[in-house]
């Protein structure tokens, strides 16, 4: 089936590339998207852990505390979800049977990384957030190796 897809796409467009971060295929895959949102998950997790609840009787401080906590949880959720989506686009659209031969743990790597995204939503865990970051870096290395390019893993934070 895959072969037919590739054949069809090639016949429709003179461009030889069949890769895309949006299953266009637009030819632009980059694990940096997942890296940026995973960094945000790590950051939000840390910020939540660092928050101190104000005394019960200080109404204004409690409102500010819950406004911030509620927003951080939502942002952590969204960023973990985006990380999951961006990783799964690589798995379902970029990686092909030929890569699976070279990386027999391909499926397992992505399955665990996706489960880590869900764990980072369900919990407030620096341990799992860091493990997610490592999983993203492993995928970054695997990805660029298939393209025979040496791209460093540069973090923004």
């Amino acid at each position: 089936m895959l072969k037919q897809v590739i054949a069809l796409v090639k016949s429709l467009s003179p461009a030889p590339a069949v890769h895309a971060h949006c299953d266009g295929p637009c030819g632009v895959y980059d694990p940096a998207s997942a890296r940026i949102t995973a960094e945000a998950v790590v950051s939000m997790t840390k910020k939540i852990m660092d928050m101190e609840a104000p005394p019960h009787e200080d109404k204004a401080a409690n409102i500010a505390y819950h406004n911030t906590l509620s927003r951080y949880v939502t942002i952590k959720e969204e960023q973990a979800q985006k990380t999951k989506e961006d990783l799964l686009i690589l798995w379902t659209d970029y990686f092909k049977p030929v890569h699976l031969e070279k990386y027999p743990d391909l499926h397992d790597t992505f399955w665990k990384a996706a489960k880590l995204c869900s764990a980072c939503k369900v919990e407030v865990s620096t341990e799992h957030a860091n493990e997610l970051m490592e999983a993203v870096q492993k995928i970054h290395n695997m990805f660029w190796a298939t393209k025979e390019r040496d791209v460093s893993f540069v973090k923004a934070s």
Copy 2:
């Protein structure tokens, strides 16, 4: 309850339990969501194949033709995307290591099903749309077998 969730998640990742069609976990997984949208992909693909281009000089008919064709392509795209997302939620959040032991082709089944979703976007292919429908039915059977429930695969169309 929290303790139970944490315990659940810990046992899950690297880990075993917790169900949810939305990684809440809310405890409600159902492959029917993916079945409904896959039916829409089959339907839109057929409708696109059945369209007849009007004569070049009939302006009004051409506008109606392109309005319909453009909308059908967009709807096919959206429904294939939703099918992909709903299938991947089952793969990343419902299925667990214990299921993988029982279904060694679990990863491959979902990988191919996800790639079929992308193929149904890139192409207008009744063959691939039907293969997607079969992949969804296979997953429906696998899913309900893990719950030891006998749920029939009832189509809406």
Copy 3:
């Protein structure tokens, strides 16, 4: 007006069906979508009611508690909203004047069901969540009766 729409769609596509869960029309309507998300509303409502607040001084437990509570409220909100949207698609696109003649309480049934979706957001009420589930079942029965099909109301949870 409806007649003209139907006539137009028929003229554009040889397929006789004019129904769709996405106003394509793609020909695939199924109340199962609303049933799945309503089940999630019931599930999240129960889980929220079952939560126990940890002692004020246990910081880690409080953070985990608020992470979970905040996420459950958001998921309840999203699932209630999806239920509302899926029910309204049936009301605005599937049901037609001919059905209104047969079911004179059609409008009222959907109005109340939609208001129940909003109530399930605003409140944490098992009573209203259960009433929503019943409203969805009533619509399921009404829907399949118009198609003269006998489809059972199978819940996933």
Copy 4:
């Protein structure tokens, strides 16, 4: 049920208003949202009707033509969808049983308006786009009458 919702909301917030354009309830309903997007539907419909297909052999002009046509169809779709959503929020959340007594055609007015939104997607019809605009104006008048305010129907285009 409604009474309980109202009671609950009132008990939670000292503000007497129970209306909201987002079922918060945030207390801010305004048919102007639906009016703006309905104007966009009228505008896109006209622009599509006014487009002239270039000669078949002029490649660059054909690409520009299809880029514009495809975008206009998508924008018409989105704006009609937003109009539908904003109208339905008024119907499901703002209007209450007491209003139904005063406006017995309330349900029918919204049902027809919602069906017009779908018709404006399926077709490229200035007639239906104009009818949608009239439906929105009728709802604007009905809405402000319930609030005993005299707000003029000012269009942006």
Copy 5:
């Protein structure tokens, strides 16, 4: 560059208008969208400030309180975000170099208004919510002045 865009759009469509609230361009810009959502930000901010935390031991009341607080924070976030988006559409698509000559503080006005939207998310501040409302009114006046129309700033709440 702008000139070329305008020339291209004019060449593609006989309509002379080049304005749009959705960069279609669909020709329908209206600051009322931003006004409605800014009103919702003001409303949600006030409602959050007015909430009273129930006694720690009243479980049901605490759940209701957190359900409401969490939802209000989310709605405030969404409405502030929509205000930001709608204002930025005016800045990036409606306003042109010719307007900048007439309003040298154009960029600064929008920059500050956008930063106020973010501040209304991060904080629960009636002061900043009111400043946002004033910024929207200033932009309303600036906008209609460029069209030489006298449109009053009518609030829904």
Copy 6:
């Protein structure tokens, strides 16, 4: 006002960073997001320009052609929109008055970049797509200079 926001955020969270790609603030800004989507705009624009319309009488080829063309236009639209959003987050949330003093053309740079995003939607223009890429690179340099970090502009395609 800004100072107050910063003070508030600092008081709420012990973390000293006040930057975020999502106005959390989560502390993770990175122009790489805009770079990736801008690359996709360039890619889709080229692919659209390279497409050859099939003979009018070849029905299957025409359907495949329009399916591809329609999808490419939609993807170009989405990626240009994401580029716009990601650039504007930098402008509204990362850059502060102190940066404006150092880069007096800050506002103009972002205004032009945002207008280029819209131009890349309205047109199929390799010239404007390339100009957008240059604008993104200029912003990349400006951004990392404010952080006194030397980060290379590495493209994925």
